[in-house]
């Protein structure tokens, strides 16, 4: 157990270091920061002074060390395009992205799970077939196209829901939330549905196939033979055992949701980190790109790590296997 956690931790730190190195290279060597900050007409003396001030004359690994120390403290310097501190920019945009992502994940779970169970139990029903076909479409349609279609129907033709921005927000400390105003909720509906549609289809298909697998096992047959009610068999025995892989995949998908938020935020001009990142890419705003790269990798590594540990805690078989083979998983 201890060895397993240690291995995972070391791996996570390794990945983060690699990402930080990548961000560092970007930050330090793409475009000359001295020219960017001083302009073309600076004298060599001014350049040298700034070079020393920025620590650019020090050995590379010392610079890398400083970069990491700064990054851990959340300091990525100034945005080239907006002249603001990158950390401030990201902190302003973070709540919007997180609220959108969590809303999408909740929709995926609340809609996908029951539909998955239903399609598994009524596997030959008409509604089940229709739901499956719909889920295939949900997997094949690109996210941005779903967003455009929803805007066309619900904003342009029906005029029910807004298609642009976040609506009114209320600040609680540095966190600005749209969840406390009616307009905030209205603005959330279309982006959240767009972002969740792919995940709904995924959860539906996953729950269905896992459920079908479990329903075939001996202990379900045995439970039937014992004369348990259908309800107890389906929900007490079958569903419970399908949840382990579903939780894993959903955990991993949370990272995917945050990544795909880039697309959704662009379609709906949702003022989150994704929109910030896309604008940074368009204008080659390297500090913002480097910061986003580090932040999103950190979120991913964190999610992967906790899913691994959670899996380990939930599934006793893993522990037994590890104990015998000495943690060589």
């Amino acid at each position: 157990m201890f060895v397993f956690i240690l291995r995972r931790l070391i791996q996570a730190v390794g990945v983060m270091l690699a990402v930080a190195l990548l961000a560092f290279i970007l930050f330090q060597y793409v475009g000359d920061p001295v020219t960017i900050m001083l302009g073309q007409d600076a004298t060599p003396a001014e350049r040298d002074l700034l070079r020393t001030q920025l620590g650019l004359n020090e050995p590379v690994f010392v610079q890398f060390y400083h970069f990491i120390v700064n990054a851990v403290q959340g300091d990525f310097g100034l945005s080239l395009r907006q002249g603001q501190k990158v950390s401030v920019l990201i902190r302003e945009k973070l709540p919007a992205t997180l609220e959108l992502s969590v809303a999408a994940a909740l929709i995926a779970l609340v809609v996908g799970l029951p539909l998955g169970v239903y399609t598994a139990l009524r596997r030959n029903g008409r509604l089940s077939q229709a739901l499956l076909a719909f889920s295939l479409l949900g997997v094949s349609l690109p996210t941005f196209l779903i967003g455009i279609l929803l805007i066309l129907v619900f904003s342009v033709y029906l005029g029910w829901l807004p298609s642009y921005g976040r609506g009114d927000t209320i600040r609680i400390g540095w966190w600005s939330t749209g969840l406390l105003t009616a307009s905030g909720w209205q603005h959330l509906v279309l982006p959240a549905v767009t972002l969740s549609l792919f995940q709904v289809a995924l959860v539906l298909r996953l729950v269905r196939s896992e459920m079908l697998e479990v329903l075939r096992t001996d202990y379900i047959k045995f439970a039937r033979a014992r004369g348990l009610t259908r309800r107890a068999i389906h929900f007490g025995h079958a569903l419970k055992n399908t949840l382990v892989p579903v939780i894993t995949i959903m955990g991993l998908q949370l990272g995917g949701i945050i990544a795909f938020a880039i697309v959704t935020e662009t379609v709906f001009q949702w003022p989150g980190m994704g929109l910030l990142f896309i604008q940074a890419v368009q204008f080659a705003d390297i500090p913002v790109m480097a910061a986003y790269l580090c932040l999103i990798s950190f979120i991913f590594v964190l999610i992967n790590l906790s899913v691994d540990l959670l899996y380990f805690a939930v599934d006793p078989r893993l522990r037994v296997g590890l104990g015998k083979s000495g943690g060589s998983h």
Partner: protein, 304 residues
């Protein structure tokens, strides 16, 4: 030639195709789009990039079946008076070319690394597969976006149009190789211990030759299935990047770029500029996906 064709028509694969209506429909759709896009130079009613043939007066004409539509432009025109049908045909060609090139790139890289990892084993194997694992834990679109973004930051702004195509292909290919590497490595591990490999080794054939001449043909089956599914993802990735404005420039638009252009006219009621490229994209991806599903089942009867 005719003989081989006849033999193929009687083969298992063709038999499965003839008894699978969905696969037949998907093939027809894909063939139509292939012919229309690669033959765009001859088949398209207009050349949307020929500035002389564009009439600004004809801008924003709706499709032929609506009240203000004209026979001249079957699917209507965009804001600059370009015929949408022609733009679609050329755009599909761009999307397909980038998708195919990216798939070939990812496949080559994945096969080479997978073969080396599986055949050589040891530390090299551990290193390659660790990198693949880490990369697989990130969504491909994010990786492609990052590579694309870095390339844009490195290259000065006025060069962006020139490098757009290679950068896109490279980004999508680099984002897609781990799956090929994993599949190839898995099959190589099995093939490595077969007798024919041992025999080849005994008569003194060098490792690279064994890997690429003897092992490679035997691990290609699953790779081809993966490639069809990957083609659909690659086309979607390209369209997404172009829609986000970091892909193909508007001077030679792909389907994604066309959708991006049309997005600005969504609110003023000119829906066709967005919806037709969107529909073309969905049809393209769907037919490739359906063909991939069929191919997977046909090549691996055990799955049923």
């Amino acid at each position: 030639m005719l003989h081989t064709l006849a033999k193929f028509w009687d083969g298992d694969l063709a038999w499965s195709w003839r008894h699978h209506p969905v696969a037949m429909i998907a093939t027809c759709m894909l063939l139509t789009m292939l012919i229309a896009s690669f033959g765009a130079g001859w088949l398209a009613p207009y050349n949307p990039f020929d500035l002389a043939s564009i009439e600004l007066l004809d801008a924003l004409k709706p499709p032929v079946w609506s009240a203000e539509g004209t026979r001249q432009y079957l699917l209507g025109t965009d804001s600059q008076g370009r015929d949408l049908l022609s733009a679609l045909m050329y755009g599909t060609r761009v999307s397909l070319l980038i998708g195919l090139a990216a798939v070939v790139g990812a496949m080559t890289l994945g096969i080479v690394l997978g073969l080396i990892a599986g055949y050589a084993g040891g530390q090299l194997d551990a290193l390659i597969m660790r990198v693949a694992d880490v990369q697989l834990s990130f969504p491909a679109i994010l990786i492609a976006l990052l590579i694309d973004g870095v390339a844009r930051a490195v290259v000065p702004g006025d060069m962006h149009e020139v490098i757009a195509f290679p950068v896109l292909v490279g980004a999508i290919a680099l984002a897609g190789w781990p799956q090929y590497a994993r599949t190839v490595r898995g099959s190589t591990l099995v093939e490595k211990n077969r007798e024919y490999v041992q025999a080849a080794r005994v008569i003194g054939i060098s490792s690279p030759v064994i890997m690429f001449r003897h092992v490679l043909p035997n691990v290609l089956g699953p790779v081809l299935v993966l490639a069809t599914v990957h083609l659909a993802t690659a086309i979607i990735t390209e369209a997404t990047l172009s829609y986000l404005g970091v892909g193909v420039p508007p001077t030679s638009p792909s389907l994604g770029t066309l959708i991006r252009i049309g997005n600005d006219f969504l609110f003023s009621g000119e829906w066709w500029i967005t919806i037709f490229p969107g529909a073309a994209l969905v049809l393209l991806v769907l037919s490739v996906n359906l063909l991939g599903d069929w191919l997977r089942d046909a090549l691996n009867p055990r799955l049923n």
